[in-house]
């Protein structure tokens, strides 16, 4: 049985790396004793595959991973069980069984929607430059790859770019960026705009197939309705204290370590459309 999970990564935990998150999942699977398949060989590893890496420092409500299980499990309630086994700030939003023969996240996802906070530009500059990018037929950038400069056109990877708005820190830019054939990272877009990346927030990953767009969790998923509803209902994973307290009951006057100090405002603005 193959299961796909959707999860959020918000608050202080955003500073962990993709690799750190992978290890959190491995520990969580063992803690809840999920029957994960292991690779054979000298150094057995759990059969888990992640989608597109989220840059360290970015937040997201649309991270995914697929895991192979040795036996069928009940999907219902699994997301909540795993959330309880994860660090504060990582919340499992949905789980769904994958049909046999489904493509990998890496192959299937075609674009992501982002909110990006940019510094080093005033609103007028940001709007002028964004308008320039939207109007341009091509946007050639040079980057270093394996020690030598590579030049390519990133304009085709910018699928949409909204007019920059004043944000809670710096300038807020909402956009949709392609992940293939040439994926574009928020930091590259910000660099092309001449600003500095403050934070990035991934709202969704999309699979475009036959002219339609789908989110990677197969519907109907058992314990999530729609990601936006899920996000709203939770009022931000970092504020989910009641749930945390049941997991690690306070004793001897001690309390759990502090919940994520992330402003609720950022989570509220996650309803990107």
């Amino acid at each position: 049985m193959k299961v796909r999970f959707r999860f959020a990564k918000q608050g202080k935990v955003r500073f962990t790396s993709h690799r750190d998150v992978a290890r959190m999942w491995e520990r969580a699977f063992r803690r809840v004793q999920l029957p994960v398949s292991y690779s054979a060989g000298f150094s057995p590893r759990p059969k888990v595959s992640f989608g597109l890496a989220l840059p360290t420092g970015a937040e997201s409500v649309a991270e995914y991973l697929d895991v192979d299980l040795t036996e069928a499990v009940v999907i219902d309630g699994l997301a909540a069980t795993l959330t309880a086994a994860m660090p504060v700030g990582v919340d499992v939003l949905a789980a769904g069984e994958l049909e046999a023969g489904s493509g990998s996240l890496q192959q299937e996802v075609t674009s992501c929607t982002w909110s990006i906070d940019v510094g080093g530009l005033d609103l007028g500059q940001a709007r002028a430059r964004a308008a320039g990018v939207v109007a341009a037929a091509e946007l050639v950038v040079t980057r270093e790859r394996k020690g030598s400069p590579v030049t390519d056109d990133i304009r085709p990877a910018i699928l949409s770019l909204a007019e920059p708005q004043p944000g809670s820190s710096g300038i807020r830019i909402d956009c949709e960026l392609a992940t293939q054939p040439r994926g574009l990272r928020p930091s590259e877009l910000v660099e092309a705009l001449g600003g500095g990346l403050l934070t990035a927030f991934r709202h969704a990953q999309w699979i475009e197939r036959d002219g339609a767009r789908w989110e990677p969790i197969p519907l109907p998923a058992t314990d999530a309705t729609h990601e936006k509803d899920a996000t709203h209902d939770r009022s931000g994973p970092g504020l989910d204290r009641a749930h945390r307290d049941t997991r690690t009951p306070a004793t001897g006057g001690a309390v759990d370590h502090p919940a994520v100090d992330h402003p609720a405002a950022t989570v509220g603005s996650a309803s990107f459309s």
Binding site: T16, D20, F42, S43, G253, H257, D261
Partner: protein
């Protein structure tokens, strides 16, 4: 005092630094009591990077014990790497706790863990980053007390200018006594002039050393005396010892970091102390006697710890885990626990060198059988008798044979260079042993990897070698070159060595007196932090600082001490009689070994008799395979089995 988090000011800085996850805290198991006037706030600092410091068990134990009390709370901090330090200083943000990101200066105590001498400049840097005057004499009642514990405090003098109080020995019980004294000071409002009074009160707590309560007299370069200034301050500070580990099943909630750290696994301490009597080993001398944890408690801590943390590896820690009486039962219990589904691996960080140990290792490392490490320490039987590491050639070869035949492909061997009486034949013996191990490996695998790792020996306080003059950089370099030349064409052996210049700096700090404080401060002011990291280390800073203060490296490091000499740590007691250490030093020079006193009659080192405590060892007999001369035939120690004599043409022996 306003309790506030610095997080909003730290967060934007983290986007600019490497590995920001090491500054966020959020570990599973981390929980702190809320701040309040009724609680003494401890900031426990490991003065090295988060990756090195987070797993430290001593710090985690005290963190839990203090947060369980209703009169204390504890948070943790680690040395920020240079990139974050620069950002913090530019933004005028002080050192902070990773738990709630509160400023270090808000705590009542800033307590450092001292595991190695080369972190001393980081200690000074952390005090400065906390916004506290680096010299203890310049602090007022508004500043936290600066404390330090850990193995290095057995010679506290090099840090005496910077640290208000040192804790000698096990911390579990004494932190409560310190909390009570500091709590009264806090309740009294920390009035002007009260700092001296609270320190004097603390100096009366057994195990606490307050350097400002002692006068130091010199006679030229020599030390004449260190004496208390007041009649109620003890002339000799005795170490603290927890008599029964079973009463302290900590950590109960080992921290699980979100980012990768060293020893990233469940760690369960199976015993404390060691009586194998290796003469170079400070840990083995200062932590006596042996106190085993009951096997049943170890099993519970392992199974509950694995369940709670989700780790797939557990390490049974101690100074020599194969000597643990309950080892076989614990190993079988972990392996056969169905909950672990065969996916949990066990590691023994300090393997004894014998086939029995490898047998245990093969039982537990069903998966990921990559490398095994042994520490013969000396290249010849003669030198191993000098250092009292009574491993026979047969023991090593059987262990290595056993390892390669059971599927391991890499064997790592630890050696010391520069020990007393060492001749070139002893140094070259390292190459001979390593080469023979590779030869054994070739019988079982096509390309065995044997790594010989050579560290320069630094004599440590409270050991029989505390009187020995350390080898110079030139001499250690010459010995390493001897080995490099000898092993140049041996493809199965990789030689690694420790930088002799770093060994010199460690030597300055290891047996230094109070005057070395100025040197440490100068090295720090010149930018010399993270001295254990080769890219940050420059011996030039240490040499320049020694010269500036008119201190001789030769006097402090390379000189043999005399029997009647006052040593800078004579007023600190690990319970060992100084004449026991001297006699053992003389026995070393006679190449005479001493057996492990766990299973042989007491030779009165002074610890058990002096403190009225005893070994807590479940087994009345030495472990299978013998231990440190007990149950072993030592007459054959140096005999090399014929099959292992060098056979290839052109191999120098």
């Amino acid at each position: 005092m306003v309790h506030m988090t610095l997080w909003p000011r730290i967060e934007p800085l983290l986007a600019k630094v490497q590995k920001p996850a090491r500054y966020i805290g959020c570990e599973d198991g981390a929980r702190v009591a809320p701040p309040g006037p009724g609680r003494v706030g401890w900031l426990l600092v490991y003065p090295d990077t988060y990756e090195i410091g987070l797993p430290n068990q001593g710090l985690q134990i005290l963190y839990e014990i203090l947060n369980e009390r209703d009169d204390a709370r504890a948070e943790r901090a680690y040395a920020p790497w240079s990139d974050l330090e620069a950002e913090l200083r530019a933004a005028r943000v002080p050192l902070f706790s990773v738990d709630t990101h509160r400023p270090a200066g808000e705590f009542d105590l800033i307590a450092f863990n001292l595991s190695a001498e080369l972190v001393y400049t980081n200690v000074v840097n952390c005090i400065d980053l906390a916004g506290v005057p680096v010299r203890a004499a310049d602090r007022g009642p508004e500043h936290p007390l600066v404390a330090a514990g850990g193995h290095c405090t057995y010679n506290p003098e090099p840090l005496a200018d910077f640290v208000d109080l040192f804790v000698i020995g096990d911390g579990e019980e004494v932190v409560a006594e310190i909390t009570e004294v500091v709590g009264e000071w806090k309740a009294s409002g920390r009035t002007p002039g009260s700092r001296q009074a609270v320190l004097r009160e603390l100096s009366k707590v057994v195990g606490v050393y307050v350097p400002s309560m002692y006068d130091v007299e010199y006679d030229g370069p020599a030390l004449r005396a260190i004496t208390p200034r007041h009649p109620d301050v003890p002339a000799r500070v005795e170490k603290r010892t927890v008599a029964d580990l079973a009463e302290w099943p900590y950590p109960k909630r080992q921290l699980v970091p979100l980012t990768e750290v060293v020893h990233d696994r469940l760690n369960v301490e199976v015993f404390r102390g060691c009586t194998r009597g290796c003469r170079f080993c400070q840990a083995g001398m200062i932590t006596r006697p042996v106190r085993e944890r009951p096997a049943e408690q170890v099993r519970t801590m392992v199974s509950e710890g694995l369940k709670r943390t989700g780790y797939d590896e557990v390490s049974l820690t101690s100074l020599s885990t194969a000597d643990f009486s309950g080892i076989e039962g614990v190993v079988a219990g972990v392996i056969n626990d169905p909950v672990n589904c065969g996916q949990v691996s066990l590691s023994l960080p300090s393997l004894r060198v014998d086939a029995f140990t490898v047998g245990i290792a093969s039982q537990i490392q069903q998966v990921r059988r990559t490398g095994l490490t042994f520490a013969p320490e000396g290249g010849t039987w003669r030198i191993r008798q000098v250092i009292n590491k009574l491993i026979r050639e047969e023991d090593l070869y059987e262990a290595v044979e056993s390892a390669f035949s059971q599927g391991w492909r890499r064997v790592k061997l630890y050696f010391l260079a520069g020990v007393p009486t060492e001749q070139d034949v002893d140094t070259l013996g390292i190459a001979t042993l390593a080469r023979a191990c590779a030869e054994i490996g070739r019988r079982h695998t096509k390309s065995p990897q044997v790594t010989a790792s050579v560290g320069g020996f630094v004599p440590k306080p409270h050991t029989p070698f505390q009187w020995f003059g350390q080898n110079t950089v030139a001499e250690l370099t010459r010995k390493i070159n001897l080995l490099r030349d000898d092993l140049r064409r041996e493809r199965g052996v990789t030689l690694r060595w420790h930088d002799p210049k770093a060994t010199l700096a460690e030597g300055i700090a290891s047996r230094g007196d109070r005057r070395i404080g100025r040197v440490i401060e100068d090295v720090w002011r010149a930018g010399g932090t993270f001295q254990e990291w080769s890219e940050q280390f420059d011996i030039g800073r240490w040499e320049a600082a020694m010269a500036r203060h008119g201190l001789s490296i030769d006097w402090y490091v390379h000189r043999h001490r005399t029997e009647d000499e006052v040593l800078p740590w004579d007023h600190i007691s690990a319970g060992l009689h100084k004449d026991f250490l001297w006699d053992d030093w003389q026995a070393a020079l006679r190449e005479s070994g001493v057996p492990d006193c766990r299973w042989t009659p007491c030779y009165d080192c002074g610890v058990c008799t002096g403190y009225g405590i005893e070994h807590v060892v479940a087994s009345a007999v030495p472990p299978a395979g013998g231990s440190q001369g007990t149950g072993q035939d030592l007459t054959t120690g140096g005999r090399v089995p014929v099959a292992l004599l060098p056979t290839r043409a052109g191999v120098a022996s």
